[in-house]
């Protein structure tokens, strides 16, 4: 018996029925989903679209039975899987989430895949048969005792997919499974899912705002309406043709809808560079050098994109240029004019001196949020500079408007959506008007609308004379903004030991 039959064949797809279903999270006024009427037949493959805030994730979490009980929120109407409550269908439904890091549960590859089966009470011998079959299905050819911490993002997502498949679900739910991955990882995960669908009869539902990834794998597109119910429903071609413009406006990446961007005024700047590197070598920690011999010049009014494969040291280079990490050897040198009164190389500058010179936007906005409200967050930098209250207020108000955050001025930054957090983190840096912006993956996981806003904003800043250094995997972003691309070569995973200095 070929082991793959343990996963395909006998598992029949489930049906989904929503009748006037809605859900309101505890403590919220608005319903996340309301008046939803939807029938999905067994074995259908559905792409679920909708503006952010239209309740896609809520629906998928409800189907997976992980929304929680009555203390987490209240529901209306009915949501049924094969005619029963989703909570009773544990094991019939498999859910793959967005964040690769929080889906790895155990330390070894085989154990992690086995976890779901154990919880469902599958006999031991059968568990290991399923583990091997699922790993083969997602194309992870690794020993069972391979440490999960050594996996790339794409591999982690495929591992989680294998864990879900081993439970032999009749419904496969994917909640933006590729949003946090680089292009290589996106392709890996997409191909694995395609292979799984080839061999399975399971019902399939995926949320994703990059339509092109899944378009060919689905036979139905459902668009949720922000105001409740379904906005559009039908074959992918039809729905995208009818709703394309509207979807693009609400943040969905629709293939064929051009993103009209004002052209950057590209000039070849010959001015003295603000920063230059002098045979720079960078290291994540004292004994892990990731790249050496870096020669770069950064001029005002231009954008440099740092690209390269995972682990090549892109973020490390950006943070070193930003005066946050100490070079392992060589120097980052600031021009006399740019340094102004600050003494030495940027790493020697005071924290406050960085504010008006180099602004850094971190990959994860949550790392740089420190204030209780959006307004206070934007005021942190100006306040550290000792600006007057009047100046601070006017700068903050201007940024709130420019970043479309004015309605959230008093909200806690941690409660914002991904796109809002990204805009806020850019805003916190702009508040002190630095001459150089350093951004680490500014468009990672962003929907089309936020993407366009960030590109526009940065374009305006660069044309206004600001220098920009951006780490990016995003080819569209690089094409839209960069004057120069600095590609870091691939380095071996094995750390290079430095001789002690």
């Amino acid at each position: 018996m070929p082991p793959d039959t343990a996963l395909s064949g006998p598992v029949a797809g489930v049906s989904i029925d929503a009748n006037g279903w809605g859900w309101r999270h505890a403590g919220r006024r608005a319903w996340a989903v309301s008046n939803l009427d939807l029938r999905i037949e067994p074995g259908e493959r559905v792409l679920l679209l909708g503006a952010s805030g239209s309740g896609k994730s809520t629906l998928v979490h409800a189907l997976a039975g992980v929304l929680g009980g009555d203390e987490e929120g209240e529901h209306s109407g009915r949501l049924l899987i094969d005619g029963g409550e989703p909570g009773q269908a544990r094991g019939r439904v498999g859910l793959l989430l967005q964040d690769p890091d929080s889906q790895v549960i155990l330390a070894r590859v085989g154990d992690d895949v086995a976890f779901g089966c154990e919880n469902l009470g599958v006999p031991r011998a059968e568990i290991w048969r399923r583990v091997e079959a699922s790993l083969r299905m997602v194309g992870l050819n690794l020993p069972l005792n391979h440490p999960t911490s050594a996996l790339s993002g794409g591999q982690k997502q495929r591992l989680a997919l294998a864990g879900v498949l081993a439970m032999r679900p009749g419904l496969l739910l994917l909640d933006e499974p590729t949003a946090n991955l680089d292009p290589e990882g996106v392709q890996e995960v997409r191909d694995s899912v395609a292979r799984v669908l080839d061999q399975s009869e399971a019902t399939f539902l995926v949320i994703e705002h990059r339509v092109s990834i899944w378009q060919d794998l689905v036979n139905r597109v459902v668009v949720l309406d922000r105001n409740g119910g379904v906005l559009a429903d039908g074959p992918p071609g039809d729905v995208l043709a009818r709703q394309g413009e509207h979807l693009a406006e609400s943040g969905v990446w629709v293939p064929g809808v051009p993103h009209v961007l004002p052209d950057r005024r590209r000039t070849t700047s010959t001015s003295e560079p603000l920063l230059r590197t002098d045979s720079l070598a960078i290291a994540r920690s004292a004994e892990r050098v990731v790249a050496t011999g870096i020669e770069l010049q950064i001029r005002s009014g231009t954008a440099v994109a740092i690209t390269g494969p995972n682990g090549a040291g892109k973020s490390t280079l950006a943070l070193t240029l930003a005066g946050l990490l100490t070079p392992s050897s060589g120097r980052v040198v600031a021009s006399r004019e740019f340094a102004h009164h600050a003494a030495g190389d940027p790493i020697r500058w005071k924290s406050r001196d960085l504010l008006t010179r180099i602004g850094t936007v971190f990959q994860d906005p949550e790392h740089q949020l420190i204030a209780p409200t959006v307004r206070a967050e934007l005021a942190v930098g100006p306040r550290a500079l000792g600006l007057t209250d009047a100046v601070i207020t006017s700068r903050v108000d201007e940024l709130l408007g420019r970043l479309r955050l004015d309605h959230l001025a008093d909200a806690n930054p941690f409660t914002l959506s991904g796109g809002e957090k990204r805009r806020l983190s850019v805003g916190t840096v702009l508040a002190t008007q630095p001459g150089l912006l350093v951004l680490d993956e500014p468009t990672f996981g962003q929907d089309f609308r936020t993407w366009r806003e960030i590109v526009r904003l940065l374009g305006e800043l660069i044309d206004g004379g600001t220098a920009v250094v951006a780490v990016s995997h995003d080819a569209d972003f690089v094409a839209a903004l960069a004057d120069e691309e600095y590609r870091l070569p691939h380095v071996d995973r094995a750390p290079v030991k430095v001789a002690s200095r």
């Binding site: 992980v66 946050l324 924290s351 420190i370 916190t428």
Partner: protein, 266 residues
């Protein structure tokens, strides 16, 4: 037949040493047994006897001298430190050898200090040696299957342990971000607490995401759970427990016989 089809995952250290493959629950039990008996008394005889037996047994632990000393370095630092404190401030008795303010070195405190050093070594060394060969996953399997602790508690702890590495990365990023945001120059103590709070917030968010992922894989379902890896408790495990008990009993016997036994609760 209860054998498992594929080769069971084994961590690298397990293949090398005799005790590595022993069920972690037995290792935990043996260390606890020794520790319990040795904290009942403070005398140099019981600790010396236990330590002597242990040092002989360490030969079978499969550790090189270098690994042994590196891993147990903390114990070697802690023991003399505890001893020194006892020497200077311990209960005074007998001849006074030296005094300076509150410091009083006497026959009694010297004896106590020696007993303390030996005790810390006799409890600490075997605990470290047994524990460095414990794989957390194997421990969780053992606690769940052998010690019959609730799976929810054991596996929740195990999954949480894996997040420690992420917390370290978070802490580093938080530190850099504070410098970038212009608040890295002064108020180090306040910044530390502010940063610790931010880490707490981040870890709660990470934790709840992990909990969702676990729940989505059927964790906490009202079904009798099975275990992919069998955790067995057989001859080797009972042997280790017996050795632990034997050392403890020998230490007590010799100590009582030589009249040094001094029951701390008496």
């Amino acid at each position: 037949m209860t054998t498992v089809a594929p080769e069971l995952p084994r961590s690298a250290s397990e293949r090398r040493s005799a005790i590595a493959g022993v069920n972690p629950v037995a290792k935990l039990g043996a260390s606890l047994l020794l520790a319990l008996v040795l904290i009942l008394t403070i005398d140099w005889v019981s600790a010396s006897v236990a330590l002597a037996c242990e040092l002989v047994l360490f030969m079978w632990a499969g550790l090189t001298l270098k690994v042994f000393f590196v891993r147990t370095a903390l114990v070697w630092i802690a023991a003399p430190a505890a001893g020194l404190t006892t020497l200077l401030y311990g209960q005074a008795a007998g001849t006074v050898h030296w005094s300076f303010g509150l410091v009083l070195v006497t026959d009694g405190s010297i004896e106590l200090a020696v007993a303390t050093v030996l005790r810390v070594l006799a409890i600490g060394l075997p605990a470290v040696v047994l524990f460095i060969t414990i794989d957390p996953t194997d421990l969780a399997d053992g606690l769940g299957q052998v010690a019959k602790l609730p799976a929810r508690f054991v596996l929740g702890g195990l999954a949480g342990l894996r997040m420690v590495g992420l917390f370290l990365d978070d802490w580093r990023a938080l530190e850099l971000a504070r410098r970038a945001r212009g608040i890295g120059d002064s108020g180090a103590i306040r910044r530390f607490f502010n940063q610790a709070f931010a880490l707490l917030v981040l870890s709660i968010r990470r934790g709840s995401k992990l909990a969702t992922a676990m729940e989505a894989r059927g964790f906490g379902a009202p079904i009798e759970r099975t275990w992919a890896r069998e955790s067995t408790f057989g001859r080797r495990e009972w042997a280790l427990l017996t050795v632990g008990l034997a050392i403890a009993l020998l230490a007590v016997t010799v100590s009582v016989a030589t009249g040094q036994w001094n029951f701390v609760l008496a």
